[in-house]
Amino acid sequence: MKFSLSWLKAHLDTDASLTEITDKLTDIGLELEGLENPADALKPFRVAKVIEAGPHPNADKLQLLKVDDGSSEPWQVVCGAPNARKDMVGVFGPPGTYIPGSDFTLKPAKIRDVESFGMMCSARELELGEDHDGIIELPADAAAAVGASYADYAQLDDPVMDIAITPNRQDCMGVRGIARDLAATGIGTIKALSIDPIARSGNGPDVRTDDSEGCPAFYGCTVSGLSNGTSPDWMQARLKSAGQKPINALVDITNYVMLDHGRPLHVYDVAKLKGGLIARKATVGEKLTALNDKEYVLDETMTVIADDNGAHDIGGIMGGAETGSEETTTEVLIECAYFDPASIAKTGQKLMLTSDARQRFERGVDPAFLDDGIDIATALVLDLCGGTASEVTRAGTPPTEQRTISYDPKQCAALGGIDVAPDKQKSILEALGFAVDGNWQVTVPTWRRDVEGWQDLVEEVVRIEGLDSVPSTPLPRKAGVAKPTASPEQLAERKARRAAAARGLNETVTWSFISDKEAAPFGGGNWSLANPISEDLKVMRPSLLPGLIAAAQRNADRGASSIRLFEVGRRYLETTEHQTIGLVLAGENRMRSWQAGSATKYDAYDAKAEVLAILEAAGAPTDKLMDFAEAGDHYHPGQSGTLRLGPKKILAAYGALHPSVTKALGLKGSAVAAEIFLDAIPVKKAKGHMREAFAPPTLQSLTRDFAFIVDADLPAGDLVRAVKGADKKLITGARLFDLFEGASVGEGKKSLAVEITLQPTEATLTEEDLKAVSDKVVASAGKLGAELRG
């Protein structure tokens, strides 16, 4: 909401400085967002008189002027304005002046071989209007002010404040409401609103409301025999300060009353109406072309104002293009209605149509201001356009019942945290228009629809008293030992994240939404936005990998040779969001080096290594994990796997990405990836601090190696598990350390070598013991078709 200082002072009697006023506005919740003084840009411009005007020697359409701007010597100015002539008074910008409307700085110049210094300016050049047909022509008596600053002369030195109005403060969507709020702070006093009685004659117009829900009250009167023209300078200046373009007197009056009092009105050209005006629900499919020249298709929930020909106004939101007032209008019907805020909001949302009127009506205008509103508007029409006003027809009843709140001044300290003397509280509330009786029954003014309970009253008192004066009060500190405030899942996630970073992975954050194309290889998304910001950010990701793959490619494009990215975030599946760690490894695993030779690419085992390390950090029982396939179609079918706790519970999937997926997502070269499903990891139950009793075994452990020939397609993991399970008591570890395929082991065969660790518990192992274990190992492996290598 923008308004000038002089406009504010039309309602507020104050000696306060501009800074005091703007600080106060922010302090009471009317946040100052901008402050401009149009005079600042106009400072160098002076009132000047043309003392000579003659033809330019080399150009027909140019004149050669001598201009007196109060300087010791007159300026020679080449001027192309048709209205420039001797003795006229205008606005002059001397050389060096910045012209705001044309965005350039004047320099002495030769125009058609004649020197020119400075410029006589048009309204558009000074951003004072649209006129550029000629230079500004001041009244002849302005000659007395030659040399004076034009901004001072034209009283343009009037700072414009721009304040943010929160949705609860409809009452401050008019300058008078802002003045009332400021007055409550003691910075000034509000001037009484005096509305002179209006001479009305003749019956009021035929208006009624058939929609008491959407439009509970519809007041109207006509003014006939008027002549529309331009509005006066003072009104135009105020409208401009508010950012409104003056149009014609009738339109300007409605805008002005809305901005001055927060009271939207509508004016119809009676000549364009047929029959009476009715507030009614629209019919389904009823069409209306609004003032913005767009056609709207209405439905039965929307309120319109209609005559015999049809709807002419989307009630409380926007008038129709057909029946608005024009320069030629001679009789108007002024509508001052009360529209139901909820209906207005719904209609506005449905039509996706916002307007100054809607903003005010949906926030709830003062229902007790209909008579004043229509009188103020009528008086202005009579004053500016002449004519005769009719009586007011009052159809329906506005909801003016006032709310009463039981208040206890102690509640101010209890909720607001600041002790304000009851007398002071009372005076603050009264200054804001509340009525306070002896028992602290507080009656809410009709313009404060937002005030519902005692908490709102506390807010009123505190904001006027000053939130800054609320003293800081430490929160009570709980007695006893501080309890852990992170859940086991959160701790596991933190550890996993930092473990990933410690392993050289770089954490990224990518968008939760991806494109359909990116989601497709991952089974598509279950959640597609109805109103995405773009097709690229549309589908809630079913996997973290598309985002990471895209980030990997961006890095590759920037020349990164080794890309190690991870992200901790959610996957969005049909019913639940799953906290997940995704990682992508692309480019070089190991750089070429003097030790290792040429660079190597990542393979699926690199992904598995990261997965195991991160799972371990997250507290997953990695020794109990089982290798499975079926990592998903986005992985290479032969170079991927899952790690599971039991056949159903998948803790992670990893592998080389399927070449068709990397191709579809635009990743050049191969990449490996993994997803760790954090929410599948069983939460460790807190068992207290005590560990199980433990003493290191006194007997030395020993190792034995076994090499087996097995079928080439036997998973090594199966063999290791079989070997380890051969003697659950003695064998504490089994580790595959060699893999060999070649002619010496036979076609379709491979050799796997496993080192087992034996931990005796009671006595040192004898040769017989070792032989027994060895036999068990060979037997167990034999069940998989493994033969001990000779």
Binding site: P167, Q455, L475, S512, W527, R570, Y572, E577
Partner: protein
């Protein structure tokens, strides 16, 4: 000089002159072997009178010991020479680069979330979470933002075609405030409506249909919620001051509370933090009234609206408290000096290397929450 002394000196001389292990072994055999000169002398002790033994014993034993020690010492010396000679041939160029481990990093958003958890843990707050795909009720209605409320228009909500049980479209949460609702409802349910104190923060992803230089359609927010008895605006102010000062690790940070409006709080306040300019960069803290100083808005807050408490099944006449919400990305930018929000979500490794954090930079109160 007695014989024994002469013998000893002879061997010591030979030992020091011995050129290799074999020579040394020959000397040992000659002197200390079974038939060695000194060994034979030792055997003569048995035939001596006790008096003679008294004087000769120590001499002979002394000589034996001296020669044995000298042999051992010479042997050690020889071995070190050999070792040194070998080591001299094993010299490596230690300026060659060793195998390097890749360097990883923690994203600033995660780091700041951990910092917040640490700061608020000290104040007794735990971390709560909730879904990002929300329903209308939790995101709006329960927060006192009914369907026709003008504040809804300010939320630029992303919607889904799917609807919830009441037929309202599902949406992406526009703020972390629905976690307030879920937490209070859980407490109400668990306590049969009696209620109990709540101190939580809820960090997470939030979404608004907004995209320009300073807005991204996805961003991070942290919500704070306190519900207890006798909590008022003064507590809110203290908590925010404590949090902001701890976060930026400066005591000279001023906060300015301005009345504002949020449907879910009453009274409501926007909070500005004072900044100043140090070394040409804008720093939170210092004198906001000084040259180039000023205020910037960093969070919204207020006392939880009684309707919200009631909507969650708690009695607003018993339970009272405050809530606040703050952008995490912005906090990170203000603390660590990034100036481009969009870079947060690009995954540029060069950015990550510059602005990311080491895995072991775990924020702790003892170490200063800022890494």
């Amino acid at each position: 000089m007695s014989d024994i002394e002469a013998i000893k000196e002879k061997y010591l001389g030979e030992i020091s002159a011995a050129g290799d292990g074999d020579a040394l072994e020959a000397i040992r055999v000659a002197a200390l072997g079974k038939k060695g000169e000194i060994s034979l002398l030792l055997k003569t002790l048995g035939k001596m009178t006790p008096e003679e033994r008294q004087t000769e014993g120590p001499k002979i034993n002394g000589a034996r010991q001296a020669v044995a020690d000298a042999i051992a010492a010479r042997k050690d010396a020889m071995e070190s020479e050999v070792l040194n000679a070998r080591l001299a041939t094993e010299k490596l160029d230690m300026t060659l680069p060793p195998p390097s481990a890749p360097k990883g990093s923690i994203h600033p958003v995660s780091q700041v979330m951990d910092e917040l958890a640490e700061i608020f843990a000290d104040l007794g707050f735990s971390v709560a979470t909730g879904p990002e795909i929300e329903d209308d009720w939790h995101n709006f209605t329960a927060l006192n933002i009914p369907e026709t409320h003008p504040a809804r228009a300010m939320h630029d909500t992303f919607y889904f075609p799917q609807t919830d049980d009441s037929g309202m479209p599902k949406l992406l949460r526009t703020h972390t405030s629905p976690v307030q609702i879920r937490t209070m409802m859980d407490v109400a349910k668990q306590s049969d409506g009696a209620g109990e104190p709540i101190y939580i923060i809820a960090p997470g992803r939030t979404y608004r249909s907004d995209s320009d230089a300073t807005h991204t359609p996805m961003f991070h927010q942290v919500e704070g919620l306190v519900i207890d008895k006798g909590i008022h605006m003064g507590h809110l102010k203290w908590t925010l001051e404590t949090f902001v000062r701890a976060f930026f690790e400066r005591d000279d940070i001023e906060l300015r509370l301005r009345p504002s409006y949020f449907p879910f709080t009453e009274p409501s306040a926007e909070v500005d933090v004072g900044f100043s300019v140090e070394k040409g960069r804008r720093i939170i803290g210092g004198d906001p009234r000084g040259d180039n100083g000023g205020w910037m808005e960093i969070l919204g807050s207020g006392m939880v609206h009684p309707n919200v408490i009631r909507n969650c099944g708690l009695d607003p006449d018993v339970w009272q408290g405050f809530a606040f919400g703050c952008g995490i990305d912005r906090l990170a930018m203000l603390k660590y000096g990034m100036d481009d929000l969009r870079a947060f979500f690009d995954g540029d490794l060069r950015w990550t290397e510059h602005y990311g954090f080491d895995a072991l930079d775990v924020p702790t109160l003892s170490g200063g929450v800022g890494a």
